[in-house]
């Protein structure tokens, strides 16, 4: 077999494509800042330059708060890694899982119910923690399997069912928690659920929270990021090295040939969606079980952004599990930069959201650029 040179490798191409997208987004974002500085009286060009540098600096542009912000950034990236993996695995099987927000909500709800219903006096907290995580993932698996089932058995487009299940989930969550004993009346924030730490349930931090802190204020970081990375590595192995992954990808590439080869494509579609659902839900569970988070339960009008952003990070990470880890961290990094921009310059938070949106928008081109590079290669031939 011939060895391909580094530049000819598909993976290298995809990494380059993703980096180019990010660069494009940054350039356009910078242009927006410059335009604003030109048309707004009290903002100078220098402010625009400072602005883009703050965004690019992410948590590091906050000076002495850098470690604290970095800790929170890593913590917040974990659920995004999971929803990204969820979308990526479905993509590889030829399915578009736009149902990650609903699966996320079902996971959050179920894990919270388990974590708060079993008193820590009855079972050791770590057992409850594990039960809650597993229950959350299971709920997500069931929720994800629904569109999978409709697709496999009745050939209904999974996107339609996914969007429906999203809104059903949003309303189920509100309905289940409405008036329940789990609402946090004590802090008069009745839009939120009681923190799991009140039941002594919190993800282990191994001292990371002290390491990533700003003075005496600890960040939220815990070991969930390691769980995310391990799951990503596991999925990478599953997709590329196992019989199961071979089947899933074959179904994704060519359903007819998979049928011809005797694969059970219906079972594979349902399984892929169940795994995708379990992943999105596990991300939500890990966020809730951190212990210090306020889960907003009246969700009937909104869907969690991390669910949809899973699509973005999956595309930016070229549907590769390891790529998803990096693209999720990057997205959260830019997000922190965005908030620092609003906090430290004359640009308001809408501008920072706009810039982030630009970068996200450009990341959609990642696949397109890979294709372009491939066809250029062909033309040279």
């Amino acid at each position: 077999m011939e060895k391909k040179s580094f530049l000819e490798k598909e993976s290298t191409r995809q990494i380059i494509a993703s980096l180019l997208c990010i660069l494009g987004g940054i350039v356009v974002g910078f242009l927006v800042l410059v335009l604003l500085s030109v048309f707004t009286k009290n903002i100078s060009f220098g402010e625009a330059v400072r602005g883009i540098l703050i965004i690019l600096g992410g948590p590091f542009s906050s000076g002495k708060n850098a470690m604290f912000q970095l800790g929170n950034m890593i913590f917040n990236a974990t659920p995004l890694i999971f929803t990204g993996l969820s979308v990526a695995i479905a993509f590889k099987t030829g399915l578009f899982n736009i149902g990650a927000p609903g699966q996320y909500l079902m996971g959050a709800m179920t894990s919270l119910l388990v974590a708060l219903s079993i008193p820590s006096s009855v079972l050791p907290p770590v057992i409850i923690w594990i039960l809650a995580l597993l229950a959350g993932a299971l709920a997500g698996a069931v929720w994800g399997a629904i569109p999978g089932f409709f697709k496999a058995v009745l050939n209904v487009n999974e996107v339609i069912i996914c969007i429906m299940t999203n809104w059903i989930a949003a309303n189920v969550v509100s309905w289940v928690f409405n008036g329940s004993k789990f609402i946090n009346y004590a802090e008069t924030k009745i839009n939120f659920i009681v923190k799991t730490e009140t039941n002594n349930i919190a993800t282990a931090t191994l001292g990371l929270d002290r390491l990533f802190s700003g003075g005496s204020v600890k960040s939220y970081i815990d070991i969930s990021i390691f769980i995310g990375i391990l799951v990503a590595i596991g999925l990478n192995i599953m997709m590329n090295k196992t019989v199961f992954g071979y089947e899933l990808k074959a179904c994704g590439f060519n359903k007819n040939a998979s049928k011809y080869a005797g694969m059970n494509e219906r079972r594979n579609i349902i399984l892929a969606m169940a795994i995708a659902g379990a992943l999105a839900a596990a991300g939500a569970a890990l966020w809730c079980l951190n212990g210090h988070q306020d889960f907003k339960w009246d969700t009937y009008q909104t869907l969690p952004a991390d669910g949809f952003n899973g699509i973005v990070v999956a595309l930016l990470g070229a549907n590769n599990p390891i790529g998803v880890v990096f693209s999720s961290l990057f997205l959260k990094y830019i997000n922190v930069g965005g908030s620092n921009l609003a906090a430290n310059t004359s640009f308001n938070e809408y501008v920072s959201q706009l810039i982030i949106a630009m970068i996200v928008y450009f990341s959609g081109f990642a696949q397109y650029i890979t294709l372009m590079m491939r066809s250029r290669k062909k033309k040279e031939k």
Binding site: F244, A250, F253, N254, A257, K259, Y260, A261, G262, N264
Partner: protein
């Protein structure tokens, strides 16, 4: 330096006996010289065949003439003058038209709309279809190109679609017509018709380049034939001074046998038995396959002949499990006794002795985005030979595929790791055949196994199939190629409109009789 001399002469006189001349055309792709100093001269009013194996460089050469590629070296002359062809528009302006192997027609437009697309006549900004229609109908009468100008392309036969493509070229007043493997998609009757159309066009003064690797057609219709082999120009011969054997020798570089050497069949016990099988066609609301019963015994090649679209595809889908059958029974010899497999899964059939070379290699035969080696184990990846504890043994897959690639001469850019998508059609087909023939099987169902292959490869595949028969396997061949049917089979069953209308012995029948059965003009009684 013949060429130089010729060039001076041409430039001095300003006209040439050749309407198109390609000189020293060289086109290099990384790692391969697709065209190596190729010369081709097309006379006015002749039918010039371009013959070569799969991947010999025929398509590349025609793409250069049509402006799709730029050559590294060489020049193109029209009527003795050097011309530059940068894109298909330039080619059109020079009167060069092409009928591609896969038609470029808008399905939801009518025949007339397709013909005038891009060169519409308008009056005050509105289409004036009336005049265009008159011109098209006149052309169609002159050249005997029977079409229905108001029919939608999606509703007409492949043959009429091809005539539409030809009219497209004539409507644009093209005088040099390139036909890229035009007969690949046609039924025998349509091929006959096309041959006479081509002769008519040439008689009217059109010059035709006819790309093909079917020697019979070239012998019938062409005046001269140029042969390419592995990117090199081998020579040009006058058809009336040559033979099929000479042409194939030029093309392949060795003698090719057209008649398959085989001993008389020694049929053993029945391996596959089909009773009254029906497959329902939900689109046309009738049985696509109606009450088909047949037996295939070990050590014989049974061929189902028929014109495309007479239920052969549906029959195979029903038999292999790709489509459900509405009634009937299928039995397969498993471990020495016949077992009912009618409602068994495809996986069960695959692992209990049924091999299937599918009709559509892109739809069913291959996962195009998988590598060649991954495709080689498409039905076997889960077997202990290739997996352990759920993990795929890639090293063993590599060894196994390389063995097959070697045995079956599957050519590709990067060997076992080549994406199936990037391989040529002929080699994709060879890969599938390698996989299916090598798999443990009692019955091999081969649907048009040599479609798109050149004579060298066809000879090889036929030998392999006969070898499998002699090993005691049963072979069920479904073919549209009459030569293949007559050559390879031990028994011929003719399928017409979803039914078996006759059983023939290839030694006692001829193509004419076979054709009558295929066209539905003759049929045997049930007992026949």
């Amino acid at each position: 330096m013949d060429n130089l001399e010729a060039k001076t002469v041409n430039e001095n006189t300003g006209n040439s006996e050749y309407i198109i001349e390609l000189r020293n055309i060289t086109k290099v792709f990384p790692g391969i010289i697709a065209n190596d100093h190729i010369n081709l001269q097309l006379r006015k009013g002749e039918i010039h065949a371009l013959l070569g194996e799969n991947g010999a460089g025929k398509s590349t050469l025609m793409s250069i003439l049509f402006g799709l590629y730029q050559p590294e070296e060489g020049e193109i002359l029209k009527n003795g003058k050097v011309v530059q062809i940068n894109d298909p528009n330039d080619a059109n302006a020079l009167g060069i038209g092409m009928v591609h192997q896969h038609f470029k027609l808008v399905e939801v437009f009518t025949v007339l709309e397709n013909i005038i697309l891009g060169v519409e006549t308008t009056k005050n900004g509105f289409l004036s279809l009336g005049e265009a229609k008159k011109k098209v109908m006149k052309l169609s009468e002159n050249y005997g190109l029977n079409i229905d100008p108001d029919a939608l392309v999606e509703n007409i036969t492949v043959g009429m679609q091809q005539r539409t493509e030809i009219l497209k070229m004539l409507y644009r007043d093209n005088e040099i017509l390139i036909f890229d493997e035009p007969t690949a998609v046609l039924t025998p009757q349509e091929i006959e018709e096309l041959m006479s159309i081509m002769k008519g066009l040439a008689a009217e003064g059109k010059s035709i380049l006819f790309i093909s690797h079917k020697l019979n057609e070239i012998m019938e219709v062409a005046d001269r034939c140029s042969v390419l082999r592995k990117g090199k120009y081998i020579g040009t011969v006058n058809i009336k001074d040559t033979t099929k054997e000479e042409l194939s020798n030029m093309m392949v570089g060795r003698d090719v046998k057209f008649v398959v050497d085989k001993e008389p069949a020694k049929p053993g016990e029945t391996v596959l038995s089909i009773h009254d099988m029906c497959v329902y066609d939900h689109i046309h609301k009738k049985d696509a396959v109606h009450n088909v019963s047949l037996d295939v015994r070990a050590g014989e090649i049974v061929c189902i002949a028929g014109i495309d679209g007479n239920g052969q595809s549906e029959f195979v889908f029903g038999l292999t499990g790709l489509e459900p059958i509405s009634s009937g029974k299928v039995e397969l010899l498993i471990d020495g006794k016949m077992e009912d497999i009618t409602h068994k899964s495809i996986r069960f059939k695959n692992t209990h002795g049924l091999s299937h070379i599918p009709e559509d290699r892109h739809k069913h035969g291959l996962v195009l985005d998988y590598s060649l080696e991954e495709n080689m184990v498409l039905q076997r990846y889960f077997e202990p030979e290739f997996q352990q504890n759920g993990f795929i043994k890639f090293n063993d897959i590599r060894t196994y595929s390389e063995k097959l690639i070697d045995e079956f001469d599957v050519r590709s850019g990067q060997g076992a790791i080549t994406r199936a998508r990037s391989m040529s059609g002929g080699n994709q087909q060879k890969a599938i055949i390698a996989r299916e023939i090598d798999r443990k099987h009692n019955i091999l169902i081969a649907v048009q196994p040599t479609r798109g292959l050149d004579v060298g490869a066809i000879e090889f595949i036929h030998k392999e199939i006969v070898a499998k028969r002699d090993e005691g396997r049963a072979v069920l061949l479904i073919s549209l190629e009459l030569d293949e049917v007559m050559n390879l089979s031990d028994r011929i069953l003719v399928m017409y409109e979803g039914e078996i209308v006759g059983e023939l012995d290839p030694k006692k029948t001829d193509i004419q009789e076979l054709g009558l059965y295929m066209a539905g003009a003759k049929r045997q009684g049930k007992e026949g």
